[in-house]
């Protein structure tokens, strides 16, 4: 088969639907990565316009341009858009676009999930845009502290838009994180062991795990605050046993890791681009990986540094202060690894390199002011002034936007298949770089003079006029620079000449494919022997095209790629991907209806939408797998591999496992909240604890034992060739017993509006209830799959997935019921 015929055959299999329909049914990571990046850029423009409004307002004292109410919406939306709708989705887009190409796979692990995540992002983001255009935007700052953001301070719908819209967008982030984790661990080129992975994949692995453990606390906080706003459950109201500090802890448990979730991918870009620009390899690969992991872990221990002024005891502050400054160490390791890389190489000052140098100058300053702010007494003075605003922009723009622009210019030939021809990029760079420093150096200064953040104006005669004016002029120069960058990218993408395949002479696999990028990525999957496959084997791209790698035979028209062993990269299975479908967008829409129901207080919509999502989810999973045992498939190179759906741990098992990591963090945050209110909130203990009685605990315990046993029995029966029914029946009985224990707890609890205790009892019981009901539904689903022939004695991976979920439900039920009943039993 000639390369051209192979290309045509593979394109027929992998291409998205033609025309406009393709946009809505595509599940291809190249399309979706581009769509993510494009949408994020639109939000960047919106956030940038808001920034210009802010600087226009602050340019002169006593400006009549905006009043305090409008200004509040503008800075809240600026922060919210930049953090949640620009930075995080842009990272997701870059990772979604690049990872399979760098790792040597044909798509991400769960293509439809990618699409679902994208549409959740679009719909959630649109809610916030709608709020802004109608003047109903959230207005209590991007971290939404109650009571200001709750019914007391914001009776209107403004905060609800934030809570609902952002939670929707976070679902999208969790989807992407599950996807990225499983892809990096299992979907790599044959032979790519962990230590041969491109450094960017290591960074993204850390980031994805951080999203899975960092976002759930905020999702929990949003759920609780929305429950307080919609139903009066007083989690954050001190008079009824709540505490507004709980929100601050939940928010910053998310918020600090978030900063590193934004920075680490940018660092990953630098670690990838810089060595190519310096015509060498990265210094200290192992060190850099260790530094990234260390940053990820450390960042979860230091959220309290955002709360230094809340009256936390001084010794605790000392601990968090020390931990906070400690992050400077892994950061320094990376910085010096990069400088060392330049030192051992032959750097060329191409445009991506310019942006990286701008990163160095800017980020080091941001890091140093960060260390200053981590020193408690100084924090007491600088907290909530423009000094902090300046610091955070040095870190976010210097540490994120600049490296991302370096990456954008580096991968532009890849994205567009064209050569950069118009040289608008260089003047744009200088405008941004100079403008940025003028703007924010001035802001450090007025901050030290005492100008508070979030104040909509200031008086004559405080000596702040000139500095603010300079800062605003700098801001406009920066904005013009950014606009030029976007224009530059647009025209270079649309009108210039076709470029070479590997213009920078890079060594990673994404440069081994033809441009424009084919839908299937690799005509055959290349065997990999080192970290820079293209340096090891310069002719690799041609060999891939000639079908000399694995899975080079288009075969039966199914979308196929390889699943490898996590550590060694040895090929283990062949996975078959689903093809184009509108299911993701429909499911995101129906999910959106549920969110909308809460937003406009049409609560009857919610159960309807949830049923709809359940039905769609059923269709979603039903279409996977096969009804026959296919045995071993020829993967090329004389290798015969089983289908992934016939393995004990199919990709779906791994996806479920990492989803449960996020879920467990959510549950742990809930128990943390419970314990926090118990020990810290002033108006505790509640008037009465839940009376456990006998029936509840007995039923609960029985169910917790029965359900996991039932599934184990079902698997045993299945593999021996019998019917699974007895085992599934036991599992269902167990689920029913635990569910009734949950219902009993809800019935026994007092009025949830009366005290935070009773409100949190209901949330814990509700959590347990939802999980056992889902476990039960999965058992029923298994029975249906068995009778339809998708599950067989040799294809029992789905039983393992249900078992995993059921075990999780049982463990959380045990913990949850214990947390509910022990206080009552002990007193």
């Amino acid at each position: 088969m000639t390369p051209l015929r192979r290309h045509r055959a593979l394109t027929r299999i992998w291409a998205s639907d033609p025309g406009w329909k393709g946009w809505f049914t595509t599940v291809n990571h190249t399309d979706l990565g581009r769509m993510f990046m494009f949408t994020a850029m639109i939000f960047f423009v919106v956030g940038g316009i808001l920034a210009m409004l802010i600087r226009a307002q602050l340019a002169t004292p006593r400006s009549a341009f905006m009043g305090p109410e409008v200004y509040a919406q503008v800075f809240t939306m600026h922060g919210t858009i930049m953090m949640f709708l620009f930075a995080i989705p842009l990272i997701e887009g870059i990772a979604i676009y690049l990872l399979p190409k760098m790792l040597g796979a044909r798509d991400l692990a769960f293509p439809r999930l990618t699409a679902f995540g994208y549409w959740c992002y679009v719909f959630g983001g649109s809610m916030l845009l709608f709020a802004m255009l109608t003047g109903l935007a959230p207005d209590s700052g991007w971290f939404l502290y109650p009571p200001l953001s709750s019914t007391l301070g914001s009776p209107g719908i403004n905060s609800d838009f934030w809570l609902i819209g952002i939670t929707f967008v976070e679902i999208s982030a969790i989807c992407a994180a599950v996807e990225i984790t499983v892809t990096i661990l299992r979907f790599r080129a044959p032979g790519m062991s962990l230590d041969k992975m491109p450094i960017f994949a290591w960074y993204m692995l850390v980031v994805a795990l951080m999203i899975l453990t960092g976002f759930p606390p905020l999702i929990l906080g949003s759920v609780l605050l929305e429950l307080e706003r919609a139903f009066g459950w007083p989690f954050f109201q001190v008079a009824e046993g709540g505490d507004s500090l709980l929100w601050q802890h939940l928010f910053w448990l998310f918020g600090h890791p978030e900063v590193y979730i934004i920075f680490l991918p940018a660092a990953g870009i630098i670690s990838t681009v810089l060595p190519v620009m310096a015509r060498t390899t990265l210094m200290g690969y192992g060190w850099v990986v260790a530094a990234a992991v260390a940053l990820g872990v450390l960042s979860f221990g230091i959220w309290v540094h955002h709360m230094f002024t809340t009256g936390i005891p001084h010794m605790a502050l000392a601990f968090f202060s020390a931990a906070s400054t400690l992050v400077a160490v892994p950061t320094a390791v990376q910085i010096f690894a990069w400088i060392g890389t330049i030192w051992k190489g032959k750097p060329q000052l191409k445009l991506p390199m310019l942006w990286i140098l701008a990163f160095f100058a800017t980020f080091v300053i941001g890091g140093l002011t960060g260390v200053m702010l981590a020193v408690v007494p100084f924090n007491w003075q600088a907290h909530d002034t423009h000094f902090v605003v300046a610091h955070l922009h040095y870190v976010l723009i210097g540490g994120f936007v600049f490296p991302v622009l370096a990456g954008l210019y580096y991968w532009l030939p890849h994205l567009t298949g064209r050569r950069r021809f118009f040289r608008l990029g260089e003047p744009a760079f200088w405008l941004v770089f100079v403008g940025f420093h003028v703007t924010f150096l001035a802001m450090h200064w007025v901050g030290l003079l005492g100008q508070r953040r979030r104040t909509f104006t200031y008086e004559h005669g405080q000596g702040w006029e000139a500095i603010n004016l300079i800062s605003s002029i700098g801001g406009f120069i920066t904005a013009i620079g950014f606009a030029l960058v976007l224009i530059d990218i647009a025209i270079n993408a649309l009108v210039t000449l076709r470029g070479r395949r590997n213009p920078w002479g890079a060594g990673t696999l994404e440069w081994a494919m033809p441009k424009p990028v084919p839908a299937y990525n690799f005509a055959s999957l290349p065997p990999v022997r080192g970290r820079e496959p293209l340096y090891d084997d310069p002719g690799l791209d041609l060999r891939i095209a000639r079908g000399e790698g694995y899975l080079g035979d288009p075969g039966d028209g199914r979308r196929k790629t390889l699943v490898v062993d996590i550590a060694s990269g040895r090929p283990e299975q062949v996975v078959v991907f689903p093809s184009n479908t509108a299911l993701p967008i429909v499911m995101a829409l129906v999910t959106g209806v549920a969110f909308l129901g809460v937003l406009i207080k049409a609560f009857w919509l919610v159960p309807l939408a949830v049923l709809g999502v359940a039905a769609l989810a059923f269709r979603w999973v039903w279409s996977l797998g096969t009804r026959t045992d296919e045995g071993l498939l020829d993967a090329g190179h004389g290798l015969s591999l089983p289908l992934a759906s016939a393995s004990t741990r199919p990709p779906g098992w791994w996806g479920t496992a990492f989803l449960l990591v996020a879920n467990a963090t959510f549950f742990a945050s809930l128990l943390f909240g419970y314990a926090f209110l118990w020990t810290v909130a002033p108006n505790w203990p509640p008037p009465a604890y839940l009376e456990p009685g006998l029936a509840g605990p007995a039923l609960g315990l029985a169910g917790i034992v029965l359900a996991p046993l039932g599934l184990r029995l079902a698997e045993r029966l299945l593999r021996a060739g019998h019917a699974m029914t007895p085992g599934l029946a036991i599992a269902l009985t167990g689920a029913a017993a635990t569910a009734s224990a949950g219902v009993l707890a809800v019935l026994a609890s007092a009025d949830p509006q009366g005290h935070a205790y009773d409100a949190i009892v209901r949330v814990i019981a509700g959590y347990v209830l939802i999980h056992v009901v889902l476990a039960a539904a999965m058992s029923v689903y298994l029975a249906a799959r068995r009778s339809a022939g998708f599950v067989s004695p040799d294809r029992y991976g789905e039983v393992r997935i249900v078992r995993l979920w059921t075990d999780y439900a049982a463990i959380t039920a045990l913990l949850g019921l214990a947390a509910l009943h022990l206080p009552g039993a002990l007193t």
Partner: protein, 204 residues
């Protein structure tokens, strides 16, 4: 910053130390970067492995650890010194924030409440008990001390001290809604006579 009390002075000193230190570090890093760019242009590709030790262990690990250790110790000492300590002559006052006003009351003159103006004796350490009746606020008199939040249901204690009698501006420093900009107060530090007079004149 024009510090007018020991707390604010200590913090100002800390700031100058950190500023100088940061500038030195910044210049150092930039110099290394420039050196790396130049050296490689002149000498071409080094083999690199001998450099890992210097760059990663020396500069990456040891250097920041040393700097941070020194800084932390310094910050901790100052923080401890600023923490409220019991003493015979500490005066206690209470600050209660609300949208958008501050009310102050005095342990030495029960029943006395002032709005928007906090009276304290000069040259004496004062503990301000800070709380709020509605949303979160923050008590900040920049020339006297750092800030501390007013959180519903909690009382936080801030130690302030004014060296000289006089008037000092104060603001709330946590966003609290549309009236935030003008959520201000004044601290008036009296000499001994003035303070006694204030307490007497106002006490019933």
């Amino acid at each position: 910053m024009h510090p007018a009390g020991p707390a604010a002075e200590a913090i100002a000193a800390l700031w100058w130390v950190m500023l100088v230190g940061s500038c030195v570090i910044f210049v150092l890093v930039m110099a290394l970067l420039a050196l790396a760019l130049r050296r490689s242009n002149v000498e071409g590709r080094g083999d690199g492995s001998e450099g890992e030790r210097v760059w990663l262990v020396g500069l990456g690990l040891v250097f920041p650890l040393l700097v941070l250790l020194a800084l932390l110790a310094y910050g901790l000492v100052i923080g401890e010194r600023l923490a409220p300590r019991d003493g015979p002559e500490v005066v206690t006052v209470r600050a209660e924030g609300r949208q958008w006003e501050w009310r102050f009351s005095y342990a030495d003159a029960p029943g006395l409440v002032t709005e928007g103006v906090l009276h304290i004796p000069a040259g004496t350490p004062v503990d301000v008990e800070i709380t709020t009746v509605d949303v979160i606020h923050s008590f900040w008199a920049p020339r006297l001390a750092g800030k501390l939040d007013a959180i519903p249901g909690h009382v936080n204690v801030l130690r302030i001290e004014a060296r000289e009698p006089g008037e000092y501006a104060g603001v709330s420093a946590e966003y609290s809604g549309p009236g935030y900009l003008d959520h201000r107060f004044t601290v008036i530090a009296h000499d001994a006579d003035g303070w006694a007079g204030f307490l007497r004149g106002a006490a019933p």
